[in-house]
Amino acid sequence: MAKNRFFPTLKSNGGMLVTLAVFILLPFIVGLFDGASPAQVWINGSGQSKFIQGLAIEIFILALYALSYDLIFGFTGLLSFGHSMFFAVGAYGTGILLKNFGFSLPATFGVIFLAGILQALLFGMVLPRVKGITFALVTLGMASVFHVLVISSELGPYTGSDVGLQGVVPPEFISPASQRLRLYFVTLAVLILVFMLYKRFVNSPTGRVCTAIRENEGRALMLGYNTFYFKLAALALSSLTAALAGMLHTIYQPIVSPNVAGLGYTVTALLIILIGGVGTLNGALVGAVVFRLLDYGLRRYIGESASFINGAVYVAIVLFLPFGIVGTWRLKSAQVKQGWERLAKLFGSR
Amino acid sequence: METILDVQDIHTFIGQYHILQGVSVRAPKGSITALLGRNGAGKTTTLKSILGLTPPRQGKVVFDGREINGMRSFDIASLGIGFVPEHRAIFRDLSVEENLKIAERQKGDYVRKQEFIFSLFPDLKRLIRLPGTHLSGGQQQMLAIARALVADNQLLLIDEPSEGLAPVLIEQLMEAIKQLSAETSVVLVEQNFLVASKLAEYYVIIEEGRSVKQGNMKDLADDKATIHRYLGAA
């Protein structure tokens, strides 16, 4: 029985499993190219592999963050301009608890969990009053107040005001310096777990109601769903995920810049899912990879005017990939497939 | 019998939904043609497809001997088609006079047509300065029809004129539509079969995106089976 079910699962999730295998093997393969044996990579010898691991960790964190935004914006249709606050609360909370209060990691996680729920409730409080773009502006307002708190000099001893939060010592067993490979796998595992959870959520009855709310809230209301609770549920899950991403961010980065609380960081999430495709979970992952690599590549090879090319790439994506990478792929894949088949036939007939 | 509008087997998509799957309508010149059918059958979409607001993907629309499908909406309208949308969609932020003036296609249209419009709808004359928000439902409907009369239109597309109005008002409105149809051909969408049967000379029944039956209104009134089948109890 178990065997019978195993193979279809394998087949339908083939693409995902291959991607997963690639990411598991990635540090070692990069190590091999760099002339380091897998054993060296295993014990965290410095080199190209370690650097690539770092970049991948950043991508995983961004992907988590983008996933959380996709859930409320792409699936539930709530345009929020205050999403960076979810992330920043996780990032700053972790840093302050670890550094100033000497909490252990599990305890910190518990507190961040609570904080995540609380801020979802805070955003949820205004839900019945404001809709659409007004909701976006109100959430922007709440996030800005948080941003001001973070950079205010009064809270400087905790947040490091406008310099940023520094000197957080992450627990030794997942330290980005000495145990980076482990941190890499932990982040990857978290991302996979969250991704699977999201997949379940989106396909669950609750998730479907969320999608219905995006399409037409009035109709969902008429069908007898109290849309408020569904939106709140999506907000809570999203907030928790973003806070978790923020927590990982603090563990990995030596410094938490106040920028992560600003509007710009929300725009980052928006851009990522627009690049990948709004309302597609894969899109958030693809978008995060493209976004980070583009940014990194341009900064490294072009330097100062990188954001010029970045902007041009966004414009090009909007014009030529009308529904993001994954969204457009889904629409066109049938056509592309047909094209390949025609091509194959052409060669076959010769 | 001359045909003013000839819709030939049009197919219209909204998003990925195939809404019209073959609608044909022939409207003779100088008469009233009613589009009948249940809610959601595709009557409003037919009107919008004629105007190019939801352009048909297949089929032909011929207006006054000229093929108009594929043209831009405002070009189609400029050829002489007036549209009275459902839900009495007048411009609420504009005054009654502005609502009429905005429909001018040539300078002076409004001044020229003023008298005719006020003879049809005497109420509007005294409301001329009021903003659209202050009008009652019936007045709004009259304004919406009057707006379509300002320019020199050869054809009026009227969507659900009697919807949500009191019987007295419906009478008044029917009278006006009858009067104006002497000069302008009319294609009318109407849920209320009684109203439609009194007004129109010809009918087209649309069912699930297809035109299934058309002919003379007099014949339909006697055909109880058809009425029952496509329009429910009449």
Binding site: R129, G141 | R72, D75, F83, P85, F91, R92, L94, E98
Partner: protein
Amino acid sequence: MSIFLRKNFTRLIVLAVLAALFVAAAGGMESSDFVITLLRGLSVGSLTFLVASGFSLIFGLLDVLNLAHGTLFMIGAYIGWTVYVRPDTFVDLLTPLFLIFSGFMLGDVWAVIGTRGLFAGGMKRILPWAGMLVSALILVGVLRSYPVSIWNPEDYAQSPVSISYLAGLGQNLLPPPAAFESISPLLAFAGLLLGSLLLAFSLALFAAGKQGLVSRLNWCSFAGFGAFLLAGILFFVFNDALTNFLASLNTNWLFLIAVSVAVATGVGLGALMETTLIRPLYIRPIYQLMLTLGLSAIGIEMVRAIWGRPEFTMPRPAFFAGTGEGCPATSLADWWQYHCSTMILLDGRIRIYNEIFVPIIGLTVLIGVWILLQRSRLGMVIRAGVQDREMVEALGINVRRVFTLVFALGVGLAALGGVLAAPSIGLSNMMGESFLLNALIALAIGGLTSYPGAALGSLLVGLLQQFIIKYGQIGIPIPFADIIFKPTPPIVPASTILLMVVVLLILPNGLLGKKE
């Protein structure tokens, strides 16, 4: 009347509370401080309004949240500065620009060629790409060797900062004009023209098929093409004469020209943006956000590359710059006589340009656009279109053209705001973003698509910011405690945002917005 009261009860209470707050805030300071703060608030409010009104018109009619609006505001400022301080650069650039845009005047012709299906199948796919590539190569090649006398942000002595400083002292010397060296003028013109035609043609091919059929060929477009071509050549022939004329003008006239050029650039940029980039996206509104964000990033980087990162100020025109005899003025009549830069009003010293001139222009624009909206046919169509675009189109009105006009008008207003801001708050790479945020907040407070709302919201934002800044200097005594609270700089933007949140929670459609 009583119905009006009942319907607007909450709204009136909020307005009353705001008025009470204003009175309380006024009561807490000296009258001289109050006058200055009030005027500064009006000034910031006016600039915010110029951004907000255009943004709101565009959002109301087109449903486009133009996040590049702030960047266009900034570009207006930098263009104005260039015309004002470096007329030679401006004149040098006119010829290539006119030639490059001449091809776009033939838009209708290209659309007709594109839709007639002269090219079928693979050809149709490859042609636009090939055309764009070739035209880009030609344009870049020609422009690289095209002589333009320009500043150099890398070299401090020739950077905009120094030029601006010298111009402020009246010691701005224009360098000798640049001459054709590596390329003959005729070849350059031919190249620019060819590149322009190719570019416009291939862009039109992309858009062809996505839009409805063009029924008629509009011969006016040839006239436009000819006019642009002729203008480009005339500017080349009379280059030196025009430069000398501009350089010898007094600064008041030059400022006026700078303002008009900045506004014209804004209008042109707006029209170009709407027709080429925004138009294909009306069916995918979310992606407009990404597009405008991308454009905004591009705009900022271009400004950085051309004018450099450091901030600088545009010198004020002579009318507002006097310091000598009779200054500071004691009355407006005095100022008229001596053209003082400052004036004493109720013991406070105010800057005429910043605190009198800018609000007056803001008020003029407010009234002007209001009249346009209420009294003209275009205004009628705009007001109708905000409510129901489809119906306006069904009346036989070319809504597309109205969209383009409104977008151009909105961007033009932003550019006007930018060039007016240049002498008062200076030019910086960040000015666009901060004013865009201000405008968004102002609109949210006033009502997103309400024109009077934009004015009221901008006024409130300007006043609130300036009052908080002033209280940051003098401090607010907290009652029943011996603490004097001094708001810190980060509180300034936060206070307006907080006001926005409170207003939106009480009145979700803003102070003057209509219910959906």
